[in-house]
């Protein structure tokens, strides 16, 4: 291996002295970033044997322009078929919910119980993933249909829509994978990146992660309350209480709906309906947990420091989205059930394009990534999930598996 003896002018990207960006044209094209002692450790992690090439600002911006062109093309092509798709999914989800509830309420045998619970689970997954998440991103605002208005949509989960719109649409999608700014990195209690400092409580994280999987909607719902910040003293209890209001209201209605009113309507079938609703919600929780954890935490996805992302250009923002996300391979149905979050990279590049368009543009995005030497992380759901599980277990111990910079250079 050849060591690059030229020091990298990291200060060239952002000059604190005068606060302006200077684009330094260096031998970027030939420099292998893993050998530089100056770059952050996060870049040293091998991603399935390879890592993204570091791009100059000019290169990033050129990449950004190519992505902008794709975006413009899709925007200009939006029309009837996008509306037809989302309405068809809404109808399918609605029909599945009605069918599931009918089977649960009027059946007495285990077969209808399993069928009913599955149908209800599928309805909730479609509603949360393909409809709720995507509509709330404003992907269908251009239609002018009030039922598809992102700012007003409320989804079938204990998390209030408004909380989600600020914590996910704004914070997570803007500051994706920036340590200290993206509160979705490990959701404030899991250690999913080497760069996060290890604490004693991380020892238990294989168990807490499993618990989170089962109660995922509650984790999502309480995410914006900032409980962890309050226990650390970074947020006042009064503020926690203020933030709790909308969550408690939404959760109350959801609990009343699934666990009180619908079982009561069923009369003697109440226990059966209650059990079906609990199982449907848990099934949805497990599925969404799996999909979402595979989006940002598999090996090969990197995190950024605030310093790195200061003064970031639009092109560099795109590059961060590519390197901060991972896709899932699968069939058309699999993509639909994940709400097209199986195209996490495309989603993070274009969060407001209708998600059903992601599979269409994915080959072109991938080709662009290849041309610019950027890792387009993708894998099957079981493989990526195993990856994430391994990482959660590995990082529950301090310093294990973390390679020192010198080791990489050797």
């Amino acid at each position: 291996m050849i060591l690059d003896t030229q020091p990298i002018e990291t200060s060239g990207r952002f000059d604190p002295a005068n606060g302006t960006a200077k684009s330094v044209v260096t031998s970027d094209a030939t420099r292998d970033v893993t050998r530089s002692p100056m770059v952050p450790t996060s870049e040293l992690r091998p991603s399935h044997g390879k890592s993204s090439r570091r791009l100059s600002r000019e290169e990033s911006d050129a990449l950004g322009r190519e992505l902008d062109a794709i975006r413009a093309e899709v925007l200009a092509d939006l029309g009837e078929r996008d509306v037809a798709h989302i309405r068809a999914v809404m109808k399918a989800s609605g029909a599945a919910a009605i069918a599931g509830r009918t089977l649960l309420h009027f059946g007495i045998d285990p077969v209808t119980f399993v069928l009913g619970t599955s149908a209800l689970g599928v309805a909730k997954i479609l509603e949360n993933m393909e409809i709720g998440h995507n509509v709330m991103h404003g992907q269908y605002d251009w239609t002018g249909d009030p039922a598809l208005r992102g700012a007003a949509y409320e989804w079938d989960i204990v998390c209030p829509g408004d909380d989600w719109r600020s914590s996910h649409n704004y914070e997570h999608h803007t500051f994706t994978n920036i340590l200290g700014k993206d509160r979705d990195i490990g959701y404030q209690f899991l250690r999913v990146a080497d760069e996060q400092p290890w604490e004693m409580r991380h020892l238990a994280q294989p168990v807490t992660a499993l618990a989170l999987a089962v109660f995922f909607e509650w984790g999502v719902g309480m995410h914006d309350l900032r409980v962890a910040e309050t226990t650390r003293g970074e947020q006042s209890v009064a503020e926690l209480w203020r933030r709790s209001g909308p969550f408690l209201a939404k959760a109350g209605w959801q609990v009343a709906k699934d666990y009180v009113v619908f079982p009561l309507i069923a009369g003697p079938n109440a226990p059966r309906v209650l059990a079906g609703n609990v199982l449907a919600n848990v099934a949805r929780n497990l599925w969404t947990f799996s999909v979402i954890f595979c989006g940002h935490f598999p090996e090969g996805v990197r995190v950024y420091t605030e310093e790195e992302t200061k003064d970031e250009s639009r092109g560099e923002w795109y590059v961060r989205q590519i390197n901060g996300s991972a896709n899932l391979d699968g069939s058309r149905w699999m993509h639909l059930m994940t709400g097209h979050l199986s195209h996490q990279i495309e989603h993070h590049l274009f969060p407001d394009l209708p998600a059903a368009r992601y599979p269409e543009i994915a080959p072109r995005v991938r080709a662009i990534c290849e041309r610019y030497g950027q890792v387009y992380a993708t894998g099957s759901l079981p493989a990526q999930l195993a990856d994430v599980a391994k990482r959660i277990v590995r990082l529950s111990w301090p310093r294990r598996g973390k390679r020192a910079p010198s080791a990489a250079a050797a």
Binding site: A72, L78, S166, K181, R314
Partner: protein, 412 residues
């Protein structure tokens, strides 16, 4: 006393039921399936069903509609906003209701505009199709006790007049003059009805046609045409004012006709504009002023330059803003907005608004000085206009996401 309590109780119960339906997401389900259940005779709250389509002239059709559930009867002369989906995008236009309030069905009469996307789609509709319509609106309505009237219309401007004369047939109004102007005999909408009306007591109908009454090359309607049509209305008996000055005059027609009639300075004139307003002509003397936007779109207040010869709506859109808007002709008030300071001119009436904190309509307000606006309601409809999309593309993603997110959160 008891009935008051009962009414209050039932209202409270109804509200509670609605809230629960919304929170349990049941309302969405019912909304989703209502259109599917139309065959069961379930009427929608915002959809009218087309029961018949009538050809009026070669380019004009009347859609006969079964009103939506809970339709509040309109007043003769009012209009409704018709909403259809074009390439997935909801698009709306205002149409006068051409049926009278007591008619069992609603009617709108649509003239096909060359290359008009909405009118073209409306002409393609058949009986059985559904149409989203808004509650009736508009101030162009018959007085409660009509005395002497002149209904003056040109082309498809006759549509609100039909609602009026049908209502007048039911009242005891004894002196109604109807003057209608069209290009040719074949272009006269409701021609047969006008003929029948002419035979009714208290009604007088004059139809003026360009190809029969005007000298070649001189078409259109003006004061001269009105004088030849109804000369007696201009003559007053000795010592009194002309008949025309005491009549309630309702006028609706092409912009040129409206301008000429308005220029006559009739004291009791009611106007309805149904054609998009002509854009203010580019004025070489126009100067540049600054418009400051308030509200969440830009917490710091975005300030942008505007010219004194264009409407605020056009100029804000050109600058990449997406204010909610509707008719774009000062009717529907979708684009109403608080003006905190500055002076604007009404593009149609020329009225000046210079007091602080007045509500103005962006689509008909031309800035005269620097203007400071209050919060602007953002458009729900992502307009298909290319310049808007271009503006959105060039936005920094952070800024864009910040705009999208509904509220709060300081990134730091």
């Amino acid at each position: 006393m008891l009935s008051t309590i009962e009414r209050r109780l039932s209202a409270t119960l109804r509200d509670a039921r609605r809230t629960a339906a919304r929170r349990f997401l049941v309302d969405r389900q019912t909304g989703l399936w209502r259109s599917e259940l139309a065959w069961l005779g379930v009427r929608s709250r915002d959809h009218a069903r087309i029961t018949a389509v009538l050809d009026e002239t070669p380019d004009t059709r009347t859609l006969v509609l079964e009103p939506p559930r809970g339709w509040v009867p309109h007043r003769p002369g009012q209009w409704t906003r018709v909403e259809i989906e074009l390439a997935g995008v909801r698009t709306s236009r205002c149409y006068s209701l051409s049926s009278a309030p007591h008619d069992p069905e609603l009617r709108i009469t649509v003239k096909r505009v060359p290359n008009g996307r909405v009118s073209g789609r409306l002409h393609a509709l058949r009986a059985g199709d559904a149409l989203r319509i808004s509650p009736a609106e508009g101030q162009f309505v018959l007085p409660t006790h009509p005395a002497r009237l002149l209904l003056l219309s040109g082309g498809s401007g006759i549509t609100p007049m039909r609602a009026m004369w049908r209502a007048l047939l039911e009242s005891d109004a004894a002196d109604v003059v109807i003057v209608h102007h069209a290009r040719t005999r074949a272009d006269v909408i409701f021609g047969a009805e006008l003929d029948a009306l002419a035979k009714r007591r208290g009604f007088r109908v004059v139809v003026r046609l360009d190809d029969e009454h005007a000298r070649p090359g001189e078409g259109g309607f003006d004061e001269g045409a009105l004088r030849t049509a109804v000369p007696d209305l201009f003559a007053g008996s000795a010592g009194s004012a002309a008949d025309l000055e005491e009549r309630e005059v309702f006028v609706c027609g092409p912009p040129a006709m409206m301008q000429r009639v308005e220029a006559m300075g009739l004291p009791r004139l009611h106007v309805e504009r149904f054609a998009a307003m002509p854009r203010p002509a580019a004025d070489p003397d126009a100067t540049e002023v600054l418009v400051t936007l308030g509200g969440r779109a830009s917490p710091s207040g975005r300030t942008l330059p505007a010219r004194t010869d264009g409407t605020l709506l056009d100029q804000l859109e050109a600058a990449g803003e997406r204010p909610a808007s509707g008719c774009r002709m000062g009717l529907c008030r979708t684009c109403s907005c608080l003006k905190r300071s500055g002076t604007v001119r009404h593009a149609i009436s020329g009225a000046i608004s210079d007091a602080p904190d007045e509500i103005i309509q962006l689509c008909v307000s031309v800035p005269c000085t620097d203007v400071e606006l209050g919060p602007i309601v953002q458009a729900a409809v992502h307009s298909a206009m290319p310049h808007e999309r271009a503006a959105e593309r060039t936005l920094d993603p952070r800024e864009k996401l910040a705009r999208r997110s509904t509220q709060k959160v300081d990134p730091r």
